[in-house]
């Protein structure tokens, strides 16, 4: 019987504000909305900007005065600071929301099935969007991504291994170089491939030249992320491997890398997300063909960012519609990669 009379203890959270404590804040914010509306209606200040600005001023001031009356000057200043910090974060959120909203709103209008089965070879960019498609660009982008992955992932991971496993005498310096490399402007990467390969070697503008330019941008991203996850692998595992008599090579290949597998995949995905939408290097390196080209080593290649770029530069309503649709497809690709990286990264954290 004793079991049934157990009292369930409700967890108490004394640090959380009760509705009663929150009520003044709510009333003051409502009052601020009304006040800013009234002022916009009466004075010559007009527009959304005026609403937002007045609401911010009234809200911050009234909350601060309310706090200050009860708790003194320091609390009033503190209240202003938290309002300002919150507003700052909200202002950062706004453009992201706007970008996602605009892209979907404008891009969806041009989505149709033949977009993915046709190329621009026989169509012009100023034709209505139902004519022609972006198959060539999609194929080009997939080629670029594939080759960049093949080049940069082994390089990035091996560099990360150098930084975490070997910790050679040059490790600090290489770390510094990798960081410097991540700041190389994308246009410079394109110019470099042009100046070194396209001018001087038989490799002409093609998917492979573009992918090599993109690899310069991708390697630092992969290296830094891979390095972070390799550092998360517990030292004990490495020591266990050594204690069992494994050589360093066996330890790394059979213990460290498998333990960090998810993280390394995340590193790859983040690297791909970094380069998938790069436009500037492609302008010098892939030629920007409108024809389907299955050979990544020869002839001009198209790519999604290039497709958007051409549509944008032409500037007719139809071509701009193409640009929006192209960027929507690109954005979906980036979003999928982003979510993949997030879920994998999240799982890695939990298993730790």
């Amino acid at each position: 019987m004793a079991l049934e009379t157990q009292v369930e203890i409700k967890p108490q959270r004394p640090w959380q504000s009760t509705p009663r404590e929150l009520a003044p804040t709510f009333y003051l914010l409502v009052a601020s909305v009304i006040a800013s509306w009234a002022i916009v209606a009466v004075t010559p200040m007009k527009g959304k900007l005026a609403y937002a600005f007045l609401f911010f001023v009234f809200g911050t001031a009234s909350l601060s005065i309310n706090k200050g009356r009860k708790l003194g000057r320091a609390a009033a200043v503190d209240s202003i600071a938290s309002s300002v910090a919150m507003t700052g974060a909200f202002l950062v959120f706004l453009p992201v929301a706007s970008i996602l909203f605009t892209t979907i709103q404008k891009g969806v209008a041009g989505l149709h099935w033949s977009l993915f089965t046709q190329t621009m070879f026989t169509a012009s960019y100023s034709d209505p969007i139902s004519k022609g498609g972006l198959l060539h660009a999609l194929v080009g982008t997939l080629y670029l991504i594939f080759i960049s992955v093949v080049v940069s992932v082994p390089m990035g991971i091996l560099t990360a291994l150098y930084l975490t496993e070997i910790k050679g005498p040059g490790a600090n310096f290489i770390q510094f170089i990798v960081q410097a490399m991540s700041g190389v402007p994308s246009v410079v990467a394109g110019l470099f491939i042009f100046a070194s390969l396209i001018v001087a070697t038989p490799i002409k503008a093609s998917a492979i030249a573009g992918a090599l330019a993109l690899s310069i941008l991708m390697i630092p991203t992969v290296t830094r992320t891979a390095q972070e996850v390799l550092l998360l692998v517990p030292m004990d595992l490495r020591e266990a491997g050594q204690a069992l008599g494994a050589t360093q090579w066996r330890t790394v290949a059979t213990i460290v890398v498998p333990a960090a597998r998810n993280g390394l995949i995340t590193a790859t995905i983040l690297g791909v997300a970094r380069i998938a939408g790069e436009t500037a290097p492609l302008l010098f390196t892939i030629g920007g063909s409108d024809k389907l080209n299955w050979n990544p080593f020869k002839d001009y290649q198209g790519a999604l960012p290039f497709y958007v770029w051409k549509g944008l530069l032409l500037g007719t309503p139809e071509s701009i519609q193409r640009a929006w649709t192209g960027i929507l497809v690109l954005l979906i690709l980036v979003l999928v990669l982003f979510i993949l990286a997030r879920t994998l990264g999240g799982r890695k954290m939990k298993s730790k």
Binding site: V96, I166, S186, V188, A195, T247, T279, A280, P305, W309
Partner: protein
């Protein structure tokens, strides 16, 4: 009767790595050095191809404000290449971007580190990371069609009320495609990097100092002012410089929103300007011969500029992060 198997010979005890290890270490070290090689090659090739331009233009290539290649009737080509105007434009636009972007980033980082509840924090971190993953051409497109009309309105307000400050003045009230618009787009583009560096630094603030401030009765803001800012300010400067490096090198977004004209324009609201990166792609299409070389030389200048800014920034950030440990 069974024969005893021979005891295995004792293994040689040595610290000399085995062959497999030597191959492994050699390969990994070699690949590790490749990034250094790539960076050197970039500088080398661009300098090499641009060498002729540097030689014929001399210092004028940096200070000159004209970019023209004139072919006269008898076929002689007179070149006059100088990136001066574009360098000034690059700095101008990047400054606008920093002035707008850095305060927002620092506020966001403060909000995320010290104010936000766990759920909102996780959401906002994703938002900021997503911003970093958006392609620059998307920022360009959005900046042109969505942001520019708004910024033009803000520019109008600035012009109307703050014209007495020289940089907000303009010969005519013509605000379309101005450095101000480009700076605004860049401000949004540098927010992710500045925010994440600032956040990393704020999170490294020694906990004992934070708790000491609270124990002495500080409010949250008092604690931030007394502990977080003194600890993190130099790191935030480093983060801002990383943002500056990004802003210097941004190409496509600036090209899309800015009206690129080869003149020095210090009126940020007035509708023309330029930066080195966007000028390279503007001139690339029609460039032949010596102009291509001059563009590669301009690429070299841009490379050196961003490399210096980035190296300095990384050194500063690293020093701050270390001081917290």
């Amino acid at each position: 009767m069974t024969t005893k198997p021979a005891a295995p010979a004792p293994r040689e005890i040595t610290t000399k790595p085995r062959l497999s290890d030597r191959i492994f270490r050699g390969t990994v070290t070699g690949v590790g050095m490749l990034s250094l090689a790539i960076l050197t090659l970039i500088g080398l090739f661009l300098a090499l191809r641009g060498f002729q331009t540097f030689k014929s233009e001399g210092f004028h290539f940096i200070s000159g404000v004209k970019w023209e290649s004139v072919t006269s009737d008898n076929g002689t080509v007179t070149n006059n290449f100088g990136v001066g105007a574009m360098l000034i434009g690059t700095v101008l636009i990047a400054t606008v971007a920093l002035v707008v972007g850095v305060p927002l980033s620092v506020l966001t980082a403060l909000f995320l580190t010290f104010y936000a509840p766990e759920r909102i924090k996780r959401f906002m971190v994703s938002v900021v990371d997503l911003m970093a993953a958006f392609p620059s051409i998307l920022y360009g497109l959005w900046g042109f069609f969505v942001l520019m009309p708004m910024v033009q309105y803000w520019a109008g307000l600035l012009y109307e009320y703050l014209r007495w400050i020289p940089i907000f003045n303009a010969p005519q009230p013509f605000f379309e495609r101005s450095p101000f618009v480009a700076g605004m787009v860049l401000a949004i583009m540098i927010i992710p990097i500045v925010t994440s560096v600032s956040r990393e630094i704020f999170a490294q603030t020694p906990l004992d100092r934070i708790q000491a401030a609270y124990a002495l009765g500080a409010t949250k803001w008092g604690m931030i002012k007394a502990v977080v800012f003194p600890f993190g300010s130099s790191g935030v400067v480093g983060g801002a410089m990383l943002g500056l490096g990004r802003a210097f090198g941004e190409t496509v977004a600036v090209f899309t929103v800015l009206n690129i004209v080869f003149k020095v324009n210090l009126h940020i609201l007035y509708g023309f300007g330029g930066n080195v990166a966007s000028m390279i792609i503007l001139k690339w299409g029609e460039a032949v011969g010596s102009e291509t070389k001059a563009l590669l030389a301009a690429g070299f200048i841009l490379f050196v500029l961003t490399l210096m800014v980035n190296m300095l920034a990384n050194a500063i950030v690293k020093r701050t992060l270390k001081s917290g440990k």
